[in-house]
């Protein structure tokens, strides 16, 4: 029999994308706003997330999922905020996938939540390809990582909805060149909104939290309208 070439035209990550779509639909129905935090190891995801859980937890029902290769430490740190937190230990897998989120949420009543935050595995490459059903993907860079980092990771920057510059309290001591950073970021993703924060001093926190709250509000209005 002659070999033939047959068109398939299917996304390689079709399975993940379908699961992510289902999750997004579940989140929408339950009225929970979901943010996926992505960065290099040590940029400050857990530190920021803990602060967000503390502050938003005063007025909202908040929860978090934390991806990590090995330890439960980040989940422990986040639980200090009083929020519901589940650890997803990925073993050798360097990113979270929609299926892991689905499993981690088993037994949780999403209706009882206003915000769900997902801390991805510290990695700027692999998480880029995996939709988790989130409403917003936030990519974090710290001032200590160098101004041209966004140019080295265009895929993640390009897939992000918002960027956060962390440890802004260290900007001066490390000589962070703000203009160069913004230039690099916007060469990779023109128009990407940026928030500068320091958990150490509290600078920029309220603007960032207001952005997250506004995101949830906008989603709820869209749901009410449809």
């Amino acid at each position: 029999m002659m070999p033939r070439i047959v068109e398939i035209r299917q996304n390689v990550l079709k399975k993940n994308d379908l699961l992510a779509r289902e999750l997004r639909e579940r989140f929408r129905e339950a009225g929970v706003f979901v943010v996926n935090l992505v960065s290099s190891p040590g940029t400050g995801k857990t530190t920021l997330l803990r602060e967000m859980l503390l502050r938003l937890g005063e007025r909202y029902r908040v929860a978090a999922l934390v991806g990590d290769l090995a330890t439960e430490n980040d989940a422990q740190r986040l639980r200090e905020s009083g929020a519901q937190v589940r650890q997803i230990t990925t073993g050798t897998v360097c990113h979270l996938e929609a299926e892991m989120i689905g499993r981690a949420l088993e037994g949780w009543n999403l209706e009882e939540l206003d915000f769900l935050f997902i801390e991805n595995v510290g990695n700027l490459v692999c998480p880029a390809s995996y939709d988790l059903g989130e409403n917003q993907r936030a990519v974090l860079f710290s001032v200590t990582e160098g101004e041209d980092k966004p140019l080295k990771y265009p895929t993640i920057v390009n897939s992000a909805d918002v960027a956060i510059v962390t440890k802004i309290d260290l900007a001066e001591p490390v000589g962070f060149q703000r203009d160069r950073f913004y230039e690099a970021l916007h060469e990779a993703r023109p128009g990407l909104p940026v928030f500068e924060v320091s958990v150490r001093t509290g600078e920029g926190m309220s603007a960032w939290l207001a952005h997250v709250e506004a995101g949830r509000q906008a989603l709820r209005e869209r749901v009410a309208w449809t």
Binding site: R4, V6, K14, H95
Partner: protein
Amino acid sequence: MHELSIAHSLAELAIEEAGSLGMRRVRALYVKLGMLAGVVKEALHFSFDVVIQGTPLEGAELIIEDVPVVVYCSRCQEERTLPEPLPMRCPVCGTRTAEVLHGREMELYALEGEEGDTDDAPDRRDQAERSQEERPFG
């Protein structure tokens, strides 16, 4: 290295599709890989060869076609192909643009193999998809 995960997904998808086509021996997988997909081609090749061992795909060749980044320039009102994934600027007028039309894809485009006798459904589906595609942009 998420290429290993991606190779797994790719093999799984190809086995599934080959099965529903009644394709008996898959000789090659044609994959379109966007320059912005965040996948290292060599790593994917390597992972693929590892992953298919002992599966129905064993011995199949992975043929990857690079897909350049194509953006829409609102100033030129044209689709523009970028020579490099960065910067995200129209190569003609220099205007920044975040509207990416191509270059993120990671698609199993086609399978080559020996087909079974019956199934002609895939050809019909191809036609339907092709005619959809031919709609002008916008």
